[in-house]
Symmetry: C2
Subunit: 471 residues, 2 copies
């Protein structure tokens, strides 16, 4: 069975039932992705204004077997939003289905349409005196439907979970064009299979999420941020245990930063203020969000003393103002920008069981050193066991000098991750970039179950074909 392109005949057919305003020529941004590895193609771009128009588009595509490419903010890092070959797809952008449908502070619930930008969802929650804790670098552009379709992670996972954990219900258009009305505001509902979590993380291959019920949280009464220098990754892990023993869920973020990352930042983005006169080999950014009666600065000072006693830190900085807190975060958040300027030979979004992180870093460095003269910048969400382990050329060389080594580096790192019970895609998903990795490392029984589910829900194979599973 083959798919057909979204050609002029198909466009003419759609225009008979949907208003002209739904269609627009595809600007280049719909055909690009952040890493610039692919450029996409587009038969027809549709910007539906509501779920019924989304459903009409999918129904029409199903009738003549045209591939449908759901499009959110376009910030995905694994090519899930880009089809560079095969029949030209119908791109369905959710950007106009973007309302906040309702906020229910008493219930700690917010209902947002898929096209709402993540930062707007955060702002709507804040306006109601609540917190929507999903937070990631692309939050000013990424849309909540895409965040859910990719089960986005970010810096809030340690305390609040992944996007999956922040969703109570969905409205979605399934591959046959029917609408599932599942926008539950319930915390408990055990009536049948968990279709919600099946669509979350399916990267648009099982349907199009059009709206979601999201969980909100109380805002912490006080927040504090610190940078602690740690002797090594093991000490960082022990420091996290110590912090949680003392402060429980009050630990909101725990990010590892390597000296290499600070040096890249100093070289590439000298305007970002460096926290330490000399970059330490390792430091961690700790954020606390505490309830009434606890002072975050005092709690951080107490934690520092306890850590010092146990040789888990040799120095630290506790932010004394909101400005300093923002400055500490800027260090963490600008590291990816510095990385991009240098240009990685190979980037890896990996996770391993937390207790095995020191072993992974040591062994990874040894393996990478054996492959050539590289620099490693390893940083990220230590508390989740999720590191961005990125390999860069030596000073004076560029990634172009190492194109033919990219796969060797990637497989060496991924083989190590896999051997340690880890994941080769911790938070970015599979998209099209990692289809082969999934086939290589995935459990074969799970893969067969995934294929069976895909065939059952999308028998025509029109939904984002080629993403996650080979088309």
């Amino acid at each position: 069975m083959t798919l057909n392109p979204a050609d002029d005949t198909f466009a003419a057919r759609l225009r008979q039932t949907l208003p002209e305003a739904v269609f627009r020529p595809a600007e280049p941004r719909y055909l690009e992705e952040p890493r610039g590895r692919w450029s996409g193609q587009c038969g027809l771009l549709a910007l539906p204004r509501n779920v019924d128009e989304v459903a009409a588009l999918v129904r029409a595509a199903a009738e003549v077997r045209v591939p449908v490419l759901p499009y959110g903010g376009g910030t995905g890092l694994v090519g899930g939003q880009i089809m560079s070959d095969g029949p030209a797809p119908l791109i369905v952008s959710l950007e106009r289905v973007a309302a906040i449908r309702g906020v229910y502070p008493t219930e700690n619930v917010l209902i947002a349409e898929a096209g709402a930008i993540l930062a707007e969802v955060q702002a709507a929650a804040a306006e109601a005196g609540r917190l929507f804790p999903l937070s990631l670098a692309a939050e000013g552009t990424a849309r909540i439907g895409g965040n859910l379709s990719t089960n986005a992670g970010g810096t809030g996972v340690l305390r609040y979970g992944n996007a999956r954990d922040l969703c109570l219900g969905l409205e979605a258009v399934l591959p046959d064009g029917r609408i599932w009305h599942g926008l539950s505001r319930l915390r408990k509902d055990n009536t049948g299979y968990d279709l919600r979590d099946l669509l979350i993380g399916a990267e648009g291959t099982l349907g199009i999420i059009t709206a979601a019920t999201l969980k909100l949280f109380s805002r912490p009464a006080g927040e504090g941020t610190a940078l602690f220098v740690v002797p090594d990754p093991q000490a960082a892990i022990d420091l996290l245990s110590l912090a949680r023993d003392r402060l429980g869920e009050g630990v909101s973020a725990f990010e590892l930063i390597a000296g290499q990352g600070l040096r890249f930042l100093a070289d590439e983005l000298p305007d970002i203020r460096q926290p330490f006169a000399t970059p330490p080999d390792w430091c961690v950014l700790i954020e606390l969000g505490l309830s009434r009666g606890l002072d975050p600065e005092e709690a951080l000072a107490g934690l520092f003393e306890a850590a010092l006693e146990r040789d888990l830190t040799s120095g630290g900085l506790i932010a004394q103002s909101e400005g300093q807190r923002a400055a500490f975060w800027a260090v963490r958040e600008q590291i990816p920008a510095a990385n991009r300027r240098i240009g990685a030979v190979s980037s890896h979004d990996i996770s391993v069981p937390i207790s095995r992180i020191p072993e992974f870093i040591a062994e990874g460095d040894r393996i990478v050193a054996g492959l050539g003269d590289f620099r490693v910048n390893c940083f990220g969400h230590l508390g989740d066991g999720n590191l961005h382990y990125n390999v860069f050329p030596a000073p004076g060389r560029s990634k172009a000098d190492h194109v033919n080594q990219r796969d060797a580096v990637k497989y060496a790192v991924h083989d190590l991750v896999h051997s340690m019970g880890g994941s080769v895609s911790a938070e970015h998903g599979i998209g099209r970039l990692k289809v082969e990795d999934l086939e290589r490392y995935g459990d074969p029984v799970k893969l067969d179950a995934m294929r069976a589910i895909k065939a059952a829900l999308d028998p025509l194979g029109i939904m984002n074909p080629g993403a996650v599973l080979r088309a």
Copy 2:
């Protein structure tokens, strides 16, 4: 396509490949369920000792299309563990696949086999200085595989989530007898569809969970428990908001108790010490679990004062000892036992959006009063929007007097719940008791998707046939 009974021929066939020790005559307990509404049948009882034996049993059943009934602790309240008609099943009890495979305190992770009793899992976590927060009345008998298969709720959901939220990975035997090795210890892993959450809550209809990776938590440094008298359910909800604004995740439980429940307890279980001289119409049990630096009794006293100022309470008791804490919990936890002695005309495990609870209770009482001379005991997990809304005969009458009204009461309550965007099975699941309710109230698009998934993963229809979906 019809199923075949697990008859002598089948038993003989199994005995060729599996040791005799795996089989045992089925004692009555395998054929009973707590509410005594059904008695089950059994062609053959198997007690496999490891996942390979579970797989061999399922493979053999698939070969000759014999129904497989997975069996945990037998505490389910909706008949998911009982087949009373159709071909006699192969009952696969997981009670011998019950080891704690590993505890990883640094990772806040524990791996338990499906047959481990919930209380044993809690104890293993406690021994490692950690908390496994799933907690429910049947925890001394229920097994973790069943807890996950039914996505169990209980009193810890408010802070820690349902069973689903406490699981990182699974090992399971799928309906074709193959083993999915998914015991991930990872907090982040975005490699493909969420098979874990599909099996969780599927009540054994998509496979048999044989082991699970579970999330552990830091133990709170201090705990406190109180009973606050509230004027009405709305005040209880406002009190919960107030408590969370002050204490965030420190609020560990928030349970509504009706005067009717206290009176039932006084009548039926007079040994349970009554907390109030005169039962108030409504009270709430609040539990706090706080981190270092906060005193739970002080926090409860502060909350009480703030609530008093806002007319959200008229009196309260703050436990002054562990003994008093246990006594307050005994009141809450013995209410179901008192209910059983009286005998409900109809019991309802429902949830509605939290802000609509006062309206639900008022309207429910009005509707039930219109149906006859009944007493309502409404209690439960208010913070989750989950109430056990149970209808009892008037004093001097018994449930036997109202058998022919049971359906009318049930549908009246469920129609109301459904009209308010609620669920007719908040935490107990569908089993066989609520298959018709699911068909009546479930979203038809979701139901079709469920049927397609069932057919894709269990094309022979052998896994717990008749549960969740009509066979």
